[in-house]
Symmetry: none
Subunit: 419 residues, 2 copies
C-alpha cells in the first residue's frame, strides 16, 4: 500500500515557499506502514491538476491533496477531483450552515463565494475542519482496485488538526498490518562511496529491506528499514543488517542510537570525568559551537580560544613566534603548540586545535587551500593529523574540518579510556 | 516557456527532508521569465522515474532533475533519463580522468563504482562540477517541439555552483525576453509581522510587482520583483518600492546589495581600519564562526574567547570572581566585564560579549531560559543590551543571539564611524 501527495496552489511554486504539510502526512503514513512514493506541487491550472490526479490514482492506493479548497476562483481542487474521477458534486446543507455560522460568530455575513466550500463530491465523507471554513473530503474510488482520495485544506494548522482527528482513524482501518523497524548507523571517517562499496554486498537484493545512505559534510547515516509481518521479524532483520554492517565498518561507526558525534564525544568525556578545550584558527568557532550545541555541555567544556592571527596564537596560546616564522601558522608544529597551549590555558584534560586554510585565498600561508592540521593534546601525548579537502568552498572545508576534529577526538578518547 | 523540477531520491520522501534545491532553481528561472509549473519528488524507483520524466517532457519545455547522480546502485537518474528519451550512454574519458584525479588529490584510489559517474547521455553537453565528483548533463531533445533536459547533482553546494556557472548562460540564450528586476532589502531588528505590517500598504495591489518576505532566525529579506516590458521599467518599479520601504524601515535595513550582516560589519571595520574580538558564553563560538565565515576576515578579526564556565571567564578574561558571585554570570555586569576583558586581551578596537541562557535548563544561573546579555566595548564606551527570546529551542536562541550581537555591533559602528 502506497500513497502520493499533491500540494495545490501556484503560490507553492514560488521561490520562497515549501510544502511542509507533506512532511507531517509522511510521518504519520510511515508509522502506519504506508510508504509515500511520490510528492508533487501543482499550480492553479485545472488541466494539469486533473492529469496529475489521474496519474497518481493509476500508481498509488491513496492520494492526498492539500490546498485549493478556498472560496475563490483559483481554488480548483474540488472541481479537478470531480473531473478526474468522473463524479458529480452537490452543496451539502449541513456544511453550508456550519460555514454560515462560523461567519456569524465573527459577526459577519457569509460572502456568496463561500458557498463553493460546501460543494461535496457525491459519495464522499465530510472531514470536519475545526480551524477554518473549508471541510475536507474522503472519497473511495472503486475501479480495478480500490483507491482513496483525500482532500485536505492547505493551512498547516487546519490540515494537521483534520488529519489527526479525521484521517488517522480511517487510515488505521485500511493500513496493512505490517511492522516497520529502522536501524540507524552513524558513521564518519570514510567517504560515501567507500561506505557504500563496503556494505552494498550485505543489503543488495535483501527482501523486505530498504537501505538508505545519507551524507552531509563528512557525516554519514546508514538507515536499514525493514518492513515485515511482525515487529519481531522487522527488528531482527534491520538490527542484524546493522550488526553486520558495523562489523565491516569498524571504528568508523560512532553511534547506533541516533546520537550525533558531539553527543557521543560529550558522553565519553562525562563518563571519564574529563574536560576538553579548543584552539580554533581556520574553523573560527565552528568546532566549539558544535561541542556546546549539546545541552549540558558545560560539564565537559569550560571554554576555548579562537586564534585567527599569528599574533593571537602567540599572545593567547603561547605559541612561540619563531615556531610560526619557521614552520608557518598552517603546520604540524603550530597545531601541536596550539593544542598544548589551550590545554594549559584552561587547565583541561584534552585540547583540540585546528589550523588550516579554508580559502578562497591562502592568506600568505604556503599550504594550499583545503589544507588542515588537527592537533589533539591529551594527558598522554599530543598528536597532529594532516588532511586536505580539495573543495573550493570555504563553508564546506570548515565543516569537514570540525567533523574530522570531533572524529579524531572520539577515537583518541576510545583508545585512552576504552569504548 | 515553462519548466518542471524533479528531485530524485527516496531519502527526499522521508518525513525529515525537503527539496530546497527547487527554490534556488525557481528563483533563477523566474528572473529569466521562465515559470515553474510543477515540482515533483520521486523515490529511487526506475519505473516511476522514467514515467515521471516522460510526463514532464510532454508538458514542459525544460525539465530539471536534481540528485541520483552518485556512484551507487540506487543512483538511477542517468539510466532513467536514457530510457525515457530513448538514448544510449557512454563513458566519457575526460570526465573519468577528472574523477580519478579528484581521488588522487585526496591520496586515494577511485573506487570502481565511481566509473558510473562518468556515464554521459550520447549527445549531451557535460556540466562541470567544481564541488564534487558527479558532472551534470544538458541534453536537447528534438521531438514535436524542442525540449531541454538538465541533470544536476543533489548536494546543494554542488548544484548551486553548477547551475550558476553552467546552466544560467545556456538558459539566457533560450529564455523569453521579458524584463524582470528584483530589488532586495536585508533587514534585522524587527519581527516578520511588524515588517509586513509596516510595508504592506506600499505593495498591496501594485501591478507587475511580486513582494516576498523571507525570515530566518531574526534575519529578514524583502524582495520586490517587478516584471515589465522594458528593463528600465522593471528597475524603476522595484527600486522605487525598495526606496519607499527603506524609508519606513529606517535603521533596520542593513543592506540593499544582498550582502549579509557579517559582510556589512566586516566592510565597516575595514573602512575604519578597526578590529573586533568576541567573548562568547551562551553562543559557544557561533558569533565568531559567522564573523570568520567572510573571506578575508583575518583583516578585522584576530581571534577571540569562548568562556563557558565562570572560572574561564575569570581566568581568560579577568572577570572578577566576586562580580560573578554577586551578579551572576548571566548579568549586565558580567557581559560588560567580558567585553572589556576580551578587548584588552587581544588588543582589539571593538569587542562583543554574549552571556545568557540558551536552555533547556538554567544551569544554576537565575536568569530564565532565553535571557541574553550582549555587551559591546569600543574605543568610547561599553554598552550592554538585555534581550529575552521566549523560545524553548537551544539552537534558535543561540542563532537569535548571534544575529542580535552583529546587529548591535553594526549600529554602534554606524554611530561611531558614520554610515
Amino acid at each position: 500500500m502506497n500513497a502520493e501527495i499533491i500540494a495545490v496552489g501556484s503560490e507553492m511554486l514560488t521561490a520562497g515557499r515549501l510544502d511542509t504539510n507533506s512532511l507531517f502526512i509522511t510521518e504519520h503514513l510511515n508509522a502506519l506502514g504506508i510508504e509515500v512514493t511520490a510528492k508533487h506541487v501543482i499550480g492553479d491550472d485545472t488541466v494539469r491538476l486533473v492529469t496529475a490526479i489521474e496519474r497518481a490514482l493509476a500508481d498509488s492506493t491513496i492520494l492526498f491533496l492539500s490546498g485549493g479548497l478556498g472560496p475563490t476562483e483559483d481554488d480548483l481542487t474540488r472541481d479537478a477531483v470531480a473531473r478526474a474521477i468522473g463524479c458529480t458534486m452537490s452543496i451539502d446543507p449541513g456544511t453550508l450552515s456550519a460555514i454560515e455560522e462560523r461567519f456569524l460568530r465573527m459577526s459577519r455575513k457569509m460572502p456568496e463565494i463561500n458557498r463553493r466550500q460546501a460543494m461535496i463530491l457525491d459519495g464522499a465523507e465530510i472531514l470536519s475542519n475545526d480551524r477554518g471554513t473549508a471541510p475536507g473530503q474522503w472519497r473511495v474510488v472503486n475501479g480495478q482496485s480500490r483507491r482513496f482520495i483525500v482532500l485536505l485544506p492547505g493551512p498547516p494548522s487546519e490540515l494537521k488538526s483534520m488529519f489527526t482527528r479525521e484521517c488517522l482513524p480511517r487510515l488505521e482501518k485500511i493500513a496493512p498490518k505490517a511492522s516497520i523497524h529502522t536501524a540507524v548507523l552513524r558513521v564518519t571517517g570514510i567517504s560515501e562511496s567507500q561506505l557504500d562499496q563496503t556494505i552494498a554486498p550485505l543489503y543488495v537484493g535483501v527482501p523486505h529491506l530498504e537501505t538508505t545512505v545519507l551524507a552531509h559534510e563528512g557525516d554519514l547515516q546508514v538507515r536499514f528499514r525493514a518492513q515485515c509481518q511482525t515487529p519481531q521479524e522487522a527488528v531482527a532483520l534491520s538490527e542484524e543488517m546493522a550488526d553486520r554492517a558495523s562489523e565491516l565498518l569498524g571504528a568508523n561507526v560512532y553511534s547506533r542510537d541516533g546520537r550525533t558525534l558531539e553527543m557521543v564525544v560529550g558522553g565519553r568525556l562525562v563518563a571519564a570525568s574529563a574536560t576538553v578545550t579548543v584552539a580554533e584558527s581556520a574553523t573560527g568557532g565552528g568546532l566549539a559551537q558544535r561541542i556546546t550545541s549539546v545541552p549540558g555541555s558545560s560539564a565537559w567544556f569550560a571554554g576555548g580560544y579562537i586564534t585567527y592571527a599569528r599574533s593571537t596564537k602567540t599572545r593567547l596560546l603561547g605559541v612561540p613566534a619563531d615556531l610560526l616564522a619557521q614552520h608557518g601558522a598552517v603546520s604540524k608544529e603550530a597545531a601541536a603548540a596550539m593544542a598544548e597551549g589551550a590545554r594549559r590555558g584552561v587547565n583541561a584534560d584534552w585540547a583540540v586545535s585546528i589550523t588550516g586554510n579554508a580559502g578562497p585565498s591562502t592568506d600568505g600561508e604556503e599550504a594550499p587551500v583545503g589544507t588542515m592540521f588537527i592537533g589533539i593534546a591529551g594527558p598522554d601525548k599530543t598528536e597532529v593529523t594532516h588532511r586536505l579537502w580539495p573543495v573550493n568552498d570555504r563553508g564546506r572545508v570548515r565543516a569537514f574540518a570540525s567533523q574530522a576534529a570531533l572524529d579524531l577526538l572520539n577515537r583518541r578518547l576510545i583508545a585512552h579510556c576504552g569504548a
